[in-house]
Symmetry: C2
Subunit: 182 residues, 2 copies
DNA sequence: TTACTCATGTAACAAGTTACATGATTTA
DNA sequence: TAAATCATGTAACTTGTTACATGAGTAA
């Protein structure tokens, strides 16, 4: 996120900042703690939503007036956060950035896929077996998760299932090709 | 990546470090510059392979003795890098880490998918239109790219195409559902 | 000889991570 | 009342980013 330039903010939101805004937009007033926890239970390893990142991002968003906090009459200093109108606009711009939205992102599977073809042929079938089994388990877990999620989460989980399924299809297409060649 | 503990290295390679090792493993001796350039032309926005990160990662990998450099008889200080045996082992461990490999990663499309459903209905159809058009263009570009890539890159490009296709299918399933409801 | 590509990096900054610290409130 | 959960953060660190600096070799 960039700083204010004196007149107006030109917020190029990070993925975390966008996600925090959308969390507040769709679930209403939340404490920072709850925002953070909703990230912690996300199905991504890369997405820890650590305290250090979330509280820092919230401070940045508040400075840019994209969110506001209200102190509660509470001895533990609970603050309820809500998104401002400018925040909604910034979030919409972030969500509708087509170039960024369709970017392939950081995909650990894709990054490793080229290597698997060249590893020791003695362990390769076992690895493919493990990958397929892990993908199948993950798809099942996501399907279970989908039942309890709300509308906003459903899209995300649905896409995660499609991603894992397409990885699985790719692995199976490798095996099929391998068999036909022998 | 973790430091040596006096006796042995326990390298938990970052994605960049793993990618550098696999680049050297599969394309043979390379200058840091060429490794870097091969990342710069990658199809990911999140993957810049900036000078700062690549040269720093190479220094870390060299300190951990996962790669070695040889000075060339050259007045511009060209150094050819190659992977060591320990480097190959570390790369294999990194590539075969099933849990990390099947992680869904940071997916900008999935992160935004839940928001699109709730944006202004006046602009939503246009957005979906733009997303579909951009995905189709990207798939065409990837297909063109595939023809010139080597064996290692083919897997990665193939998976990128499958990812974009599954996003496109998801968008089309939304439109189909939307139409049937009206 | 001018411009481009190859090749090395550094400096300042941004934005994550883990691990820790502190205390209030609720539940078993 | 003990343990779990809610709630706030900070400190030290890691690993990326952009933008800049420097210079050698090559092709127009």
């Amino acid at each position: 996120m960039q700083a204010t330039n004196g007149e107006e903010t030109i917020p190029a939101l990070s993925e975390l900042e966008g996600a925090i805004l959308s969390e507040l937009r769709h679930r209403g007033r939340q404490t920072a703690f709850k925002v953070r926890r909703s990230f912690a239970t996300s199905p991504s390893l890369e997405w820890r939503g650590s305290a250090g990142s979330v509280y820092a991002a919230i401070r940045r968003l508040e400075l840019a007036r994209l969110i506001e906090g209200e102190e509660q009459a509470d001895r533990r200093g609970t603050r309820l956060l809500r998104i401002t109108e400018q925040g909604s606009a910034a979030m919409a711009a972030w969500a509708c950035d087509v170039t960024r939205a369709i970017s392939v992102g950081v995909d650990p599977f894709r990054l490793r896929s080229g290597i698997w073809d060249a590893i020791d042929p003695a362990i390769r079938p076992g690895l493919y077996e493990q990958l397929q089994a892990a993908l199948i388990r993950d798809i099942e877990a996501l399907k279970g998760h989908r039942r309890y999620g709300d509308v906003i989460e459903t899209a995300s989980v649905d896409l995660a299932i499609r991603l894992q399924q397409s990885r699985l299809d790719w692995l199976r297409s490798l095996s099929a090709r391998g068999l036909s060649e022998r």
